[in-house]
């Protein structure tokens, strides 16, 4: 399924005129012959942006591709402008996107009408465990305390969130699994949620495992992690599974290409990305950022994301229910 927009048609026409002898698409030999436009729907300096730029440098340094990746940031519309750009691009292997789980949460919020299935996935390049935390002097000593109060007094435990993204969706999943009701307060990125907790304006929030390590001295305590098993950096923190709840969710950074990109070209990009993740500097930086270096190839990643679709849609419905209940 190729979308031919006016723009791509024009580009096609222009390049056909300029290069009469374009080799027919389908041969990876010689690919890529020009820089690969890498669209990052995040402002420069954000974690996803930093991660892909580290890989870009490693690809360059180790000559993993004959041509460089050129990073193009487009953070408009919560990242959906960027994913749309990738979706509508010519599937010739010269455009790819790199984004986080916003790829799946945006359609659940009703902001866009496409999800990961609108792309050919190249692979997952990073994964971050996340969990719920409170301040050191919080009245909640354990996750059981928190759930007990939320059950007894619905809509009293205030969650600092970032609407439409994981700090919003994961507490919602957790509340569904635990059968409780939190109160949600929009705040923003990790540092803003930290400030909200420290100032006592909210009670709990989602943080990445690396943030728990960093914020420890500021008195942020993890209560529960949403990983399959305990996180190496936080050996004392139980997982949701251990308290009998089935909330498992992690942040993932993924690379993807427009639907219909030739398989062999995707394979070239996937191989370069995977190899770049073994660069010693990447290893060191990812560790420092608290990010797990785990490459999952596109075909396996599809299965994982398809599996997450159900819980995410359920959460989206929960948001719609809250909206309906809020009707004046």
């Amino acid at each position: 399924m190729t979308r031919i927009t006016r723009r791509t048609a024009l580009i096609g026409a222009a390049s056909a005129m300029a290069l009469p002898a374009v080799p027919s698409v389908g041969f990876a030999a010689g690919y890529p012959e020009k820089p690969v436009r890498t669209i990052v729907p995040i402002a420069p300096g954000g974690q996803t942006d930093v991660l892909i730029r580290l890989l870009q440098l490693a690809i360059d340094k180790n000559k993993l591709l004959p041509q460089p990746l050129v990073i193009v940031n487009n953070a408009a519309a919560g990242g959906t402008a960027g994913t749309r750009l990738v979706r509508d691009a010519e599937p010739d292997g010269y455009t790819m996107g790199v984004f986080h789980m916003g790829l799946l949460t945006a359609p659940a919020m009703g902001v866009v009408d496409y999800d990961h299935s609108a792309f050919d996935l190249i692979g997952q390049v990073a994964r971050t465990p996340i969990g719920l935390g409170v301040t050191a002097d919080s009245r909640f000593k354990t996750i059981k305390d928190l759930l007990a109060e939320a059950k007894e007094k619905p809509d009293s435990v205030r969650v600092a969130m970032n609407i439409g993204l994981l700090p919003h969706f994961v507490p919602l999943m957790f509340q569904q699994d635990a059968g409780v009701q939190f109160r949600y307060v929009q705040s923003g990125g990790g540092a803003v949620r930290l400030k909200s907790l420290l100032g006592g304006h909210t009670d709990t929030s989602i943080f990445a495992s690396s943030e728990f390590v960093l914020y420890k001295d500021q008195g942020i305590r993890p209560l529960v992690m949403f990983s399959e098993s305990r996180v190496a950096d936080l050996p004392d923190v139980p997982t949701a599974r251990e308290i009998g709840l089935n909330t498992v969710f992690e942040e993932r950074v993924m690379a993807f290409a427009p639907k219909g990109t030739p398989k062999d070209r995707i394979a070239v990009l996937a191989k370069a990305l995977e190899a770049s993740m073994n660069d010693p500097e990447v290893v060191e930086r990812f560790k420092a950022l608290g990010v797990e270096r785990q490459f999952i190839p596109g075909d396996r990643l599809v299965g994982i994301l398809d599996g997450l679709k159900g819980p995410i849609t359920r959460v989206g419905d929960e948001v719609k229910k809250a909206q309906a209940a809020n009707k004046p």
């Binding site: 420069p44 954000g46 974690q47 408009a76 519309a77 959906t80 902001v111 609407i163 304006h201 909210t202």
Partner: protein
Amino acid sequence: MTLAEAFLHLFSLKSFLIVVAGVGLGVSVGVLPGITAGMLMALTLPFTYHMGSLDAISLLIAMFIGGVSGGLITATLMRIPGEPNSIMTCLDGYQLAKRGYPGRALGLGNASSLVGGILSWLALVLVAPPIAKAVVALGPFESFAIILMALILISSLSEGSFLKGLSAGLLGMLISFPGIDESSGIMRLTFGITALEGGVNSLPVILGMFAVSQVVADALNIEEKSEAIEASMHGMFVSFRDYLVHGWNMLRSSLIGVWIGILPGVGSTIASIVAYTTAKNMSRTPEAFGTGSEEAIVASESANNATTGGTLIPLMTLGISGGLTDSILLGALIIHNFQPGPLLFRNHPDIVNTIFASHLVAHLVMFVMMTFGIALFAKLMRLPRAFILPMVIVFSVLGAFALNNRAFDIWVMLTFGLVGILLEFAKVPLAPFVVGLVLAPVAESELRAGLMASGGSFMPLVERPIALTVILISAALFVWPFYRDVRRRFEPKQARA
């Protein structure tokens, strides 16, 4: 590394050259309308990966400070804001230059930038941790009240025509609405246009209103022999007496700048407008504002430079960033393995002291560079206008585009060029528009966050002491211009009688 060692390190040849290069590039993009320091830093960020961490951060800080300062030159000599934060300087700087004192206008602006920078440096170095504590205590209701106080500025900026000024403020506010609503994640007011889903960024709007419209006006007057700026750069050096005369204004405007710098998402443009208005309201000669008032230049330029230190406080102590420049500094710190927060001060005194030292040294370098470099810039601006005016448009186009690599932002800029011309013909004041544009999104998201926390109750606005105090001050500020107008209208009659 102590602070003294950090200074010593900066004065080693390589590090010093890095600061000089950073300030030079920063001032240059500051001079270019459209290209902002944020863009320069975003584009430089990838190049810093392989630099030593301390040098990388010094370079970015130097660019940040150079960029905040450079806008003054274009504003004074061409009446086009080189950076959004110099729009208030356009008003009086250009008038003073046109009266034959370009050197005086630039010299005062430059001196005020330095003083603003140094005072904000003192705030950063001496009181960052206690200020950070205070910032944490401010909840959404308090933040809303503070933003409301700044929004009230619209009323004092509407002098001459209250109806027009207020409507311009509201018009500015509505520009911020289309796109994803930050508080609910719901797409709103896009009128079915996909490009509007990304919202309207304030930079192309300001570029259109102030740069494009001015270029059009200059093209209209292309026959005019421009002699004003031909005058000498005499007066670049500001005497000690000037510092005394303007001392209180510099101090007050710098405090305003530091305070506004601390509030995430508000930024140096608003700081300069607030300082300008405050200076005007407290001046003995408010009628001189807009006609080349020295006080006005001093207020605007000390405030916008003073935000630099203010911005670094929440950035370094909490890791909170509001604008593009601070996000990039934050990203750079993280890339170089320094996580901002109180821990930064304990675990990485080297980077903390390097930031402190670079902030001050960059200001000093900026001051020297501007003092001696302004003559060069002034020469450049004497190039034929047939070269300069189309270039200004090209830079504005590139600046708008570079924000998100979207052609849509170019169209926004051109559209607001036309809107700016219409508003100017209708004699609608433009400053309230900018205030509404920048502050409305912050005010809305803070109020709604507060309501989410309170379960829908507005009561905390009057129950929380800080919020209540600030709201009462806002109310007084709102009523003040009416009261003053009424009294003024009343007084001459008495005098005549």
